[in-house]
Symmetry: C2
Subunit: 327 residues, 2 copies
Amino acid sequence: MTAATRRQSVDALVEAFRAGQRGALARLLSHVENERPAGLRAMSTLYAQTGRAHVLGITGPPGAGKSTLTNALIRAYRAVGKTIGVLAVDPSSTLTGGATLGDRIRMLENYDDDGVYIRSMATRGQMGGLSIAVGAATHLLDAFGFDVVCIETVGVGQDEVDIAEVADSVLLLQVPNLGDAIQTIKAGVLEIADILVVNKSEIPGAHELVRDLRNMLRLGEHGAWIPPIVETVAVSGQGIAELLKQIDRHRTYLDDSGEGERRRQRRLRAEVLRLARRQLAARLDEVLSDAAFAAPMDALLKRELDPLHVANLLARQVARDLSSNHP
Amino acid sequence: MTAATRRQSVDALVEAFRAGQRGALARLLSHVENERPAGLRAMSTLYAQTGRAHVLGITGPPGAGKSTLTNALIRAYRAVGKTIGVLAVDPSSTLTGGATLGDRIRMLENYDDDGVYIRSMATRGQMGGLSIAVGAATHLLDAFGFDVVCIETVGVGQDEVDIAEVADSVLLLQVPNLGDAIQTIKAGVLEIADILVVNKSEIPGAHELVRDLRNMLRLGEHGAWIPPIVETVAVSGQGIAELLKQIDRHRTYLDDSGEGERRRQRRLRAEVLRLARRQLAARLDEVLSDAAFAAPMDALLKRELDPLHVANLLARQVARDLSSNHP
């Protein structure tokens, strides 16, 4: 397949996407997941159609019931006639990836409804790959026309921060008695939460958890929006109506206060940085592997040059190439 | 303090470092740890003096006894008159950082010997920061003249891979009955191990662990070097003589087979890439924050431009700046 044919087939996919074909959405999401340039190109073309969806981020430790809560949200949104696209991000972290994928497949079986789209995404997360893929996939789901786009991700490691760089409203799930649940809420995580959800609130210890969270919120800093704490039993649907109400309230707050626009600006800035970094990183790889760069690498091996000096040479060479290619 | 004064004081530090003053080594390592340009500049100046040390990487899950093993190695190397510099890398991973630092301080109290230098390093690890800092610190310890440089790091998350990008010989520690020890050895981790150490080998389950590791090695791919499995009781020194023998054998293998030089080449390549990436990333931040770049960002917010297009503009602007600044 030549580059021209490939591009044409992406154009055809974009056309089919615009016509509302879910197969085209699925294929474009695969391109994005596999970090193929075609995925980003399609996102680039379709970006002008974004801006309708409210993007929810759902995060929390493994076992907090994120999938069950997502299921409950799907049902609740469908009941009021809203469409919803779900992206379940499985970081390659071996500990939880498998289980989450399994949950996803079970979820998929439950829906035969054009107003719902559920998709797992596993990424290696190299060179900002996870964030780039999730960001592009979010734009695609938004452009496809879903009223709500829900990004679900395990809140471990550095992923928590990423979710705030994609979502309008971040829901942080906690459950009582999940080991040292409170201790696992690191400072940075509580900061990104717009709504705290205490799930499985029928379990003993829920009241203590709510109290502890309330104290943590009191100690922490926040702006005009004080994150509400919603108690749910996602499996039975208890508390979900209240959760939807709080999500709507947060959306109104984002619109009215201008905070929504400020966040969007911050997120786009981060997205542009990630994409530009990746582009330059790809060039660095190319130039470093080029025969023309063998001499400085050789001098480095002989300790006639040092790594910092060679890195400067490399960065400048990439800069020269880029500026002469695009005058 | 002006830039000129700062540079002068780094020059003075480099002089003191060359005169063998440990205080200068400590201060330069702090510069590196805090990701100050002065640290990299010093590394750049002193790089020509590297190449004597054998660099050991010690990794393994928390609780495997890495600190105790390092202590045992220090004693063993000192007993044969070799000097050793130890860098204990504490990733900011909240789970283990504290404990490791505590171990470190206990270790420091035990030594009053010019042939030993022990240093903790905690880094945020942003933008390759961990790897850049550890790489530079390793060069500094090497240039200072230690016969052996030992980098110890918790083998969780992405750090395992980093150790292979710094060390000549990677020791992977395992202990019997540490939860699902075997399951925590992910494919990539076993691959980077040059020597497998089953520590606390007096604990029941050690034989099974050795057998399981042997089977895993049989299934995995390796070149001419088959990683030996050494059983140790680091706390009593049992097995340490054998471990030293295997480390020496690996060093000889690296020298004789040319694999050592190939690894060095790969590592330097990775180091140059990381340093160049960081340099370009810093420029990206600057240009994006510049008033001159407000127009495309504004168009992006209005959806007249898309993120990929703006990222391309940004990368090109950085390239133009870099090539005109350094003709």
